[in-house]
């Protein structure tokens, strides 16, 4: 892929910042269940609770990358099982579009992932988060977009 990977002088202790939008009914519940079962996964993923993966405005994802997130993960119920009937179908379509858009803007599309994790799939939550975390770590810091953003507009100008 022709995009952002610039892994030259990466601090070996560097930890990526990964943001996960998780729907309240499936993935957030799955994450809670992982806790209940005392499963372990990397600390570098922070969850933002949303009612439905379909609630995730593309704007949120852009903002995360602009502000220096190294990866964004959107998680919802399995297709067909959406608590709100059709929300995750919108997510799926938007996701594909967003990945293309990010690539066009110089962000490695692998930094943006979508996964379906049900409220019962604690193990899948742990495995997904672990894998995404390792993958993003391998990609290195997301410098490009972030730096250009700040250079061009300044932090206060959004």
């Amino acid at each position: 892929m022709s995009v952002d990977v610039e892994k030259k002088n990466v601090d070996p202790n560097w930890e990526p910042k990964i943001l996960s939008f998780s729907c309240n009914w499936c993935t957030y519940a799955g994450a809670d269940l992982a806790g209940l079962n005392r499963m372990k996964y990397p600390e570098n993923v922070r969850v933002i609770r949303v009612p439905c993966s379909g609630r995730v405005n593309p704007q949120f994802v852009l903002r995360a990358f602009q502000k220096g997130s190294d990866g964004v993960l959107v998680c919802g119920c399995h297709p067909g099982d959406c608590h709100y009937v059709t929300g995750n179908y919108f997510t799926r379509r938007r996701f594909l579009l967003m990945q293309r858009f990010l690539e066009y803007n110089g962000i490695d599309p692998r930094r943006f992932q979508a996964r379906w994790i049900s409220g019962a799939e604690a193990g899948k939550f742990r495995d997904t988060v672990t894998k995404v975390s390792n993958d993003i770590k391998a990609l290195g810091p997301n410098k490009k977009f972030q730096e250009s953003w700040y250079k061009e507009r300044g932090e206060s100008n959004e």
Binding site: D32, R55, R63, Y84, G119, A120
Partner: protein, 660 residues
């Protein structure tokens, strides 16, 4: 400037053992708008809640953040607490420091850093919170129960006895489910039919219950208090409003079909009642096997013989729509198809290797052998019977990983029945463990041992025929020796699996299924009969394998939940719904198309623009229908719709706070 209070919970040592609370408190003090921070051993406890209330007054707080367990656990608790303070219950955000931090991490430093981030996100979000107010909607006090096994019957009776109308939908031609097929029931050995059929009749005759057999749910829309449900009444070709159930048609019908109720061990006619005590006690025609309806012959004998003239070959499926305030799902189970997965047990080629339900029919006085245990192959009485437990259960490689829970007990029941009914019989039970947790269960098992049942600890590895005997080979894991038993009949106690078609039911009601397809309860301990769809409840085996006492208890529990909803004249609605800024709305109508609840409609409104009156089309949200998913928000191009409680501004604050 807002005044935020932050309260960090130790949760005993659940959070404090991994997260450095003092450091989180210290960092929180310097977060924007935070005027007060405090930590507490148990924030959810009475003194913990009081401490928050006191701090609100003392420090003039106008919003709070609590760093504790998951908001899915105690958000309602803390909202309720806030209702008795000056602060609106929605001026609260919870940072999930337990389920999503201390319980899943071990590195103290990193976990503490994460906890600080989570608190910072919540502090940032709460700064953008607004007071929200609930409104109320009327409740339709009519319940729908799906599935007419003992679970569905019990739930329907309890709701009906409380004075509310109930529709009980069963897809088979009769109520009763599996329980009515059983012979005796452990641990008391009372006759299943004697305790089940009266309940079926009660349900059939109850003035508040409408029984709809041969029916399935086709479509569900709406929400708690007002579900609009379309039910498909399958064509039965018999007009039940006229039929007296005399049974002449059944006697005269020339097509014979294997009986599902008798587990394939007897025959029924194409026009049939599944069993004599069926409710309703009226026949239906099985179109696939009726010579007239499948076009194989002219026939029509039933029509000419029926004294009431109630046979109608032109009958068609009907769709019936009604509104219900609450729904109970009780779709039960079926037995795993062992034949397709256990080739080593003959894969179905030996007629005398049967499953538990077939055995129930064989010992049942109204069954195909009138209660004599006879081999299906030659009608002879088996002298040596082998019972194999955990076929398809506790076997993740071939079947299911879970324990099917009722089998240890009904295997003991079957062994007892073999020894009781057959003179000089020998009965071997192959088992992995004997699980008899239940009132009077262990005593029942001990009695079976005293009866003379021989329990062998180990799985059966192979069953094959030799000299007219079924040779069961296995290992006795206690003695470490291989054993081989020559049996006349083998009973496989097979795993319960969810009823076929459960996926459709789950999808219609938007409830989730677990990895084994059992319907998922809202919380395994604290909300065992609720689902994540408000107003939809679970009863019986559809939620997971269980025996009749547990099934009935769960059914009554879900009935109590339904009655709880119906006891109120109105329901409080969730105020976290979409809101349109009509100034920004361009009237494109995309949101109306996106909304799965048809909660958004387009309306013409008058505006004054440049001093002139104009009419513009804008969208409006019906607060009773909107469920707060936010799909419209993400789809709105001019950004005119926002979701209260999860506004764009709130979420962006969280993103910014994290990416600091």
């Amino acid at each position: 400037m807002s005044r935020t209070g932050v309260f960090i919970c130790h949760c005993g040592t659940n959070i404090a053992a991994v997260v450095d609370i003092a450091k989180v408190v210290e960092k929180a003090k310097s977060m924007p708008n935070v005027v007060y921070v405090e930590d507490n051993k148990y924030t959810c406890s009475e003194p913990g809640q009081q401490a928050i209330k006191d701090a609100i007054v003392k420090h003039k707080l106008d919003r709070i953040v609590i760093g504790s367990c998951s908001p899915r656990m105690h958000e309602p608790t803390f909202r309720k607490m806030l209702a008795s303070t000056e602060i609106n219950p929605y001026m609260l955000e919870i940072a999930n420091l337990r389920e999503q931090c201390s319980w899943v991490h071990t590195d103290r430093e990193k976990a503490t850093d994460k906890a600080i981030d989570l608190v910072r996100m919540a502090v940032a979000k709460v700064a953008k919170n607004h007071a929200l107010f609930t409104s109320s909607i009327p409740v339709t006090k009519r319940a729908l129960v799906v599935g007419g096994g003992i679970a569905g019957i019990q739930a329907a009776l309890d709701i009906a006895d409380a004075g509310y109308p109930v529709t009980l939908v069963e897809r088979e031609p009769s109520l009763g489910g599996k329980m009515v097929m059983l012979d005796k029931t452990f641990p008391t050995m009372d006759c299943s039919a004697c305790i089940c059929t009266p309940k079926m009749v009660d349900a059939g005759q109850h003035p508040n219950i409408t029984v709809m057999t041969s029916c399935e749910v086709e479509k569900v829309s709406g929400y708690i208090g007002n579900f609009e449900v379309t039910i498909r009444q399958k064509a039965t070709y018999v007009d039940h409003s006229v039929c007296t159930g005399c049974g002449i048609c059944e006697l005269k019908c020339p097509s014979k079909v294997t009986s599902e109720f008798e587990q394939g061990m007897a025959q029924r006619r194409a026009i049939y009642k599944p069993f004599p005590q069926a409710v309703p006690a009226k026949p239906v025609i099985d179109a696939a096997n009726c010579r007239k309806l499948n076009g194989k012959a002219k026939c029509g004998i039933c029509q000419t013989q029926c004294p009431q003239g109630c046979i109608n070959f032109e009958d068609e499926d009907k769709l019936i729509t009604n509104t219900y305030g609450a729904i109970v799902i009780a779709t039960g189970y079926e037995l795993i198809d062992w034949k397709s997965i256990y080739g080593e047990y003959g894969g179905g080629q030996y007629p005398d290797v049967i499953n538990g339900l077939q055995f129930e029919r064989l010992v049942n006085a109204s069954g195909p052998t009138e209660g004599h245990i006879l081999r299906p192959s030659d009608g002879k009485e088996p002298k040596s019977v082998v019972i194999v437990k955990c076929v398809g259960s506790r076997d993740p490689n071939k079947g299911k990983g879970y324990c099917s829970r009722a089998c240890c007990m009904y295997a003991a029941k079957h062994a007892h029945q073999v020894l009781e009914k057959i003179d000089n019989a020998q009965c071997y039970v192959f088992y992995i463990d004997v699980r008899t947790a239940g009132k009077a269960y262990e005593e029942f098992y001990t009695r079976t041992l005293e009866d003379g049942a021989i329990y062998v600890r180990g799985r059966v590895s192979k069953i094959y025929e030799e000299d007219g005997k079924l040779i069961c080979k296995g290992e006795d894991t206690l003695s470490g020796q291989t054993v081989s038993v020559a049996a006349d009949m083998v009973v496989l106690e097979t795993a319960m699996v969810p009823a076929a078609g459960v996926e459709k039911v789950a999808t219609l009601m938007t409830i989730s299924r677990d990895n084994d397809n059992w319907l998922q309860e809202a919380h395994p301990k604290l909300r065992p009969v609720e689902t994540h769809t408000a107003g939809v409840f679970l009863a019986g085996v559809c939620q997971g394998p269980k025996d009749i006492p547990d099934t009935v208890a769960q059914a009554s529990a879900s009935a109590a939940k339904v009655c709880g909803i119906f006891s109120k004249a109105e329901l409080q609605t969730n105020p976290m719904i979409s809101k349109v800024d009509i100034e920004k709305c361009s009237g494109c109508g995309d949101c109306a198309g996106i909304c799965p609840y048809k909660a958004i409609s387009m309306q013409d409104m008058e505006f004054i623009e440049h001093g002139k009156k104009i009419t513009r089309r804008v969208s409006t949200v019906n607060s009773g229908l909107c469920q707060g998913c936010g799909a419209c928000v993400a789809g709105c191009r001019p950004g005119a719709i926002d979701l209260l409680g999860f506004t764009n501004a709130q979420i962006l604050e969280e993103v910014d706070a994290l990416c600091l």
